[in-house]
Symmetry: C2
Amino acid sequence: MTEKTSYAAAGVDIAEGQRALDLMKQAVSATYTPEVLSETGSFGGLFDALSLFSSMSHPVLVASTDGVGTKTKVAARLDRWDTIGHDIVNHCIDDILVQGARPLFFLDYVATAHLDAGQIAAIVGGAATACCEAGCVLIGGETAEMPGVYAPGAVDLVGTIVGVVDHDQLITGETIQPGDAILALPAVGLHTNGFTLARSVLNDLDWQSPHSDLGQSIGEALLAIHPSYLKPVQSLRTAGVNVRGLAHITGGGVYDNLPRILPGGLGATIRRGTWPEPPIFDLIRQRGKIDPREMFHVFNMGLGMLVVVPPGDVSTAQSTLPGTVHLVGQIVDNQGIVEIQNLGKDS
Amino acid sequence: MTEKTSYAAAGVDIAEGQRALDLMKQAVSATYTPEVLSETGSFGGLFDALSLFSSMSHPVLVASTDGVGTKTKVAARLDRWDTIGHDIVNHCIDDILVQGARPLFFLDYVATAHLDAGQIAAIVGGAATACCEAGCVLIGGETAEMPGVYAPGAVDLVGTIVGVVDHDQLITGETIQPGDAILALPAVGLHTNGFTLARSVLNDLDWQSPHSDLGQSIGEALLAIHPSYLKPVQSLRTAGVNVRGLAHITGGGVYDNLPRILPGGLGATIRRGTWPEPPIFDLIRQRGKIDPREMFHVFNMGLGMLVVVPPGDVSTAQSTLPGTVHLVGQIVDNQGIVEIQNLGKDS
């Protein structure tokens, strides 16, 4: 009798991976459009581009990859796995929306120390639902089991999206001028950024019971799903609003993300108090005694997507999306610097 | 005096992330072709598809995502970070090559518990070099620092590729017939699969000194770079070889990967001994007392890419790529089952 080593004994369970695939297959197939020429489990996902490209004069593909960061640790603490798939899809949609693109297809990557088929299927099922809502195909993905790379119980979730925009519809920010208005489409919470800091600050609190400042539990506030801004932005453009620039406020906050779309020499003034801030941010600030400037450097602070438009288009934008478009600032000559007024005192 | 929390104190160093970006910028830009309309650091990467699609009658996009698995643990043990970027790019190229596609662009994702800018830049630099060799643009990527998700010192590396194939050049396997020949393009080592098992078996050995059975150190043998089969396969097609099917032998080995391209009812017979097996596999088998069938289920065992061709095309294939095309088996009527002859006794 000799002792034998097998892949399962070394910590990788191929059968559990197959079970996860079987569980998620139906949700993934539900995202398929007639453009999909492959089946789940193919080496690569096939997307027929003929009708798409014959309907555009100058197609530009737009691609982006990102993860949900340590929001997976929040999901793990609450043992709730159906929301973070929505987060990563919508995050990716918003990243390419910034350049005017609509999504074509998405690929997910889920990795963990030890596969749990039900957990993986819940994550990918959430991603599939978000894809369906956006008319985006979940064309491929990968599930990986990596003991020794991931901490026990930890999960990483990464997404890659490919979209398309006709060249004359590209949004680049290059026509942004001083005096342009900065509108905000509101955030619902942290979205997919700042969770390491938020968790470190809120770790000792009760995440399950309703919290008086939040109107919901801390867990619910932290898991609030990153919205897709695809439809609101499409509505603005359809209504004739001249969208000169879009900035998705993610890691680095408004300080780092708004300058990414500003032509050389331009900056921005943002007036705090002109948009609603989800109360979870003030809870984090108070508990962590965090400098307000640091808060705006790490979190979106309620500014989900910034939309730069000529001042004359503000009223059209506000009447197109009543109650959800906030005039939060304007473009100024200021060397790429974002200045926030009414920032508040250092606590 | 109050104690304040900052993002850096919570374990995320935004400045180190920026330093990594600065270090990798030049290598990434070197992959750019005139099709790239964006700069590094854009929300999404822009790929101009006009000339591409005007030159094809029926373009099909092919997308795939995958990781290098725990090969990153080998890189960490050897503190060698320049090779795994090549691995993930070539792995992805080979996955979409199976359907006849050539690569357009690639996106990387590198995540770790604590960012080391030099390490990240070495990884992404390797990916950029592999992209250049394949004429593929490194159009985007993400670097994530996630303390608590990743084990200390551990790294995950994931890639997503998008390629294109004209519809009449798609390789689907559907014309494969009984009697067709199975050719192998050789593997150089484990490529990107089976590292959890290999590491567990080889862990106690010296990985630095030359090993008599290998002609190199265990570390070198394990890190051998996953080759791209793009050029060899293109050469075969250019020479008129009727490539009816391609199977990239990855996780699940030849048992799981070859059936993915076989029409219903067909199976395959592979004759062991007809191709060279890198000696690292026998070292793993001996040390781990691993069943030969399990070896073929986990590792490629030297079969890097299988090419299914009509029997009459074998000699053309072999004269096109002298010494590198091995006739290893044939297609048979056998219900999707791969049978390996001369498998060897259970050790």
